[in-house]
Amino acid sequence: MIVPLAHVLILAGIIFALGLACVIAWRTNVIMMLIGIEIMLNAAMLVAVGGSRLWGATDGQVFALMIMAMTSAEVSLALALVVYLHRRKKTVNADEFDSMKG
């Protein structure tokens, strides 16, 4: 290990927390929320790679790769949905989609 695993994990934790904060704070912009999610997923990838390195096993890297692939699928669909909804409501403010409640 180049650095103690804990440092890698702390870095991942910080990234994850930043991503989460982004998601929470940017309720007015779906795109920024998606970006926050991407940040969180990156943290997950970092952990997986760190683990892979720690144990000298490939599984973590495969996992990271799969997360990446999955994310790209998710993002494309999410953005399609954003476009689809924007067409209807002319907004990307997540909180404005509140026709259902209670």
């Binding site: 989460l20 969180m40 990838m45 949905l81 026709s99």
Partner: protein, 469 residues
Amino acid sequence: MSAADLWAVVPLLILSCGSLLILLQGAVVPGRYGTAIGVVATLVATLWACQPPVAPTAPVLGIATTPFARFFTAVLALTATAVLLLSHHYNRHREITGEEYPATVLFATFGMAIVASAVNLLTLFLGLEALTFAFYILVAIDRNRPASGEAGLKYLLLGAISAAFVGFGIALIYTGTGTLGIAQAMQGSLTAGNGNPIALAGWGFLLTGLAFKISLVPAHLWTPDVYEGGPAPVIAFLSTASKVATIALLLLLLPAARGALFLHLPLWWLALLSMTVGNLAALLQKNIKRMLAYSAIGQMGYVTLALLSGNGGGYEAAAFYAVAYTGMNLLAFGSVASLSRGGEVNIAEDYRGFGFTRPFAGGILALAMLALAGIPPTAGFVGKFLIFAAALRSGEVSLAIVGILSAAVSIYFYLQVAVNLYLQPVETPSDHNPASLPETATLGLAAVIVVFLGVFPAPFLDLIAGILP
């Protein structure tokens, strides 16, 4: 990869190939045979899963055809069949044509089957995300109702966040234990003495993500909106199969970590909050789909209670309840779909007199309500019985009492539906457009199953006891 391995993954192949086939035929003759192919594929997958494997199975490429996997594959595929049958007429009335719908349903089923068959966390994760992903599309698929898209967005946003949580959690567990194999990872993460803090943190994230999937409080808030917005057959699918798959996932993970004390309190609180909040919030709901959503939250609270009481037979109870719940919710949303064919009928008052003007669908809905309320002789009763028996056996007395009290409260809103169906004056004229044959057959069969499981649960219970790891 031997022939035997291939043989074992055939159900998965059928589902995925069926899905592709639908897409392909859609390109040639749009919107003709999608449902048919889907039904055939899911049925064949079910049947295939039912037959015993030719050879003792070893993990293949990240999955294993254990009895557990075959059982859940069969249940999930059969649910998909039912959903396809139920949605055929509904979709036609909603102009949800095209081959996307059946193909996505098959894809979701594929994901679920993967979850049930997974032997390592990566497959598990991907299967889970695949099925959730399919539901992003399915929930938003009704383009005539803005609510559908909105529900899709809400589901997607929270789903993606939960995916991040799950991913982060699994990664941590992996880092903590050094393996993605479920059994080893679970043993490494939870049972080793004071535990592995990294893996434990991973469990924290994982549990949050899973709480979203089976809508436990406080990650439940999407449920009512998505249930309200999504097309009824899709919600029938979402509320049953996706939950069953997630429960199957938990059943894969938790028993391997028997004796995990760290998760006890979190699960305890999740169960408590879900049971109370879900059932209370459903009390005065006017919209039947929202009511069912809150009810689902409550029901998942019971399942959590069962999972929590694994030592006392809770896993069996959870598995049984998952299946029973599938039957009941299929009945509920299936009849809602059938009743709202001519337009969304969601507000409770709209159901006035349906018990008489639409006797079949109304009766099915009433049966579903009774079953959900846990009134014998239905599967819901046996399920609740098993859960509470397990809870008491493992000493969760206070939670069991809270659960039973919240169940008592829940009866009110289930009953309210029956009240609207049968006790309120009939306002709508008799409908001479009875439920279609596929609907009738599906709902009838599901009703028979729900009652049968309530009266003769013994063989089924034996089966479940046999498949659990």
